[in-house]
Amino acid sequence: MRRIVLALAAVILLVGCDRGPEWQTRYIGGLMPELQFRLTDENGQTVTAAAYADTVNLLFFGYTSCPDVCPITLGQMRQVLDRLPEGMADQIRVLFVSVDPERDDPESLRRYADFFGDRFVGLTGSREQLDTLTRRYRTTYGYGEPDAQGNYPVSHGSAVYAFDTQGRAQLLIRGEDTIDAILADLIRLVQG
């Protein structure tokens, strides 16, 4: 019995120690599959993750008519990119995936993404493509009831997934993470 307790304690200690230097946002290395998708870009062309493989990628799900979470989150990313050391922003992309393909055509996606900056890429896809991608990153989305004008809310995840240049999921950035924390982690991610 004592031997079992000791063995368990050893396992817990080992698991507890198996961490690199602390990240300031949520580290998710090894928990999620690598970046992979087939979607439609702002030109209406089919793209895969390979097209963006040369940079660190920040993946975020939303929709352009989103009143709060999307503009706030993308604005936050914009602030972070602006504060990066010279030239570093070129090594990062923000992939904004609209889960509302009904309303978000390539043109409106382009306008929306350009508003935040040239490092922002608007993407969307068929329901199947979106389902495959959201399932892969264990997130979901759904549509609410339309109002008199036909506008409807869309529920979606609020997290930003950060992938390194190898396409490995590394961080989950949450709304409550500070700009400083995100900045420090992104610099570390770009520097590899």
Binding site: M1, I4, R26, I28, G30, L31, M32, F61, R135, R138, T139, T140, Y141, G142, G144, P153, S155, H156, G157, S158, A159, L172, R174
Partner: protein, 299 residues
Amino acid sequence: MQTIDWGYLLTPYQFSPVIVGVTVVVLALYIRGARAAAQQQLPVGFGRHLAFFAGLTLCYAVLHTRFDYYAQYMFFMHRLQHLVLHHLGAFLIALSAPWSVLALGVPVGIRKRGLRPLLCNPMARGLYRVLQHPVVAPTLFVGLIYFWLTPSVHFDAMLNLRLYHLMNASMLVDGILFWWLMLNPSVQHAAVRLGYGRRILILVLITLPQVVLGAYIALSKQELFDIYALCGRAWPVPPEVDQQLGGLLTWIPAAMMSVLGILVVLRMLLHQEQAQSEAPNPTAAEVDDGDSGRIRSTP
């Protein structure tokens, strides 16, 4: 009125060959075993069959249908899923004492060369004895609930598919083991004598930490499990409502399952007193020759 799309509801959210495989094998073994038992005039009883199929169906339904989608994206649905796996489904399966039937369903060759050596293996028996220890089993039963509800652990389990499956499997297996210890008709169990009185004591004791945890979650002012907001909920429910419902489901039905367990144990106690002088039921003696407590269903 909308028609219900059963095909959609029964299609798994994420197809798992392991869940399908295990379910098919267990079902096949059980049906074969039940046929063999009927041929050999071994009474199993309709109630036991019913309990087994109900338990198995419930567990499958929460793991491998559209239910699983809601369990992944709604905290209270996740609590409902674990209530079935750890409490209700496991309870029904243990209540059906299916081991003798399952063993009868194993093809003779495998039974001789695979099952019997495994059941006689000192390592396997030792492990089983540890897991069924009257202190270890309830500690593990409650400990697993606390472990998977530790916010950081819960976060990882909800993000990583393998951990998610491990979490669900551990809840089901541990649930069956625990309830088997409580509901086994035999008092002499895995070399540990666990009388009905002590079982009732254990069942009372395990409610306390579950009530504390459920109440803590339900009454907590802060959002304990932010993973559901991060990943998006299945439908728009305020986070605090989701958490309160989840806490209540951890709190009340879990405690009620203990009450149900106590009732079953009391009934066994009553039967034991009534049947004190009668000969033991021969059901399981045919299946194993008394070389293991594992597949015995009656004393």
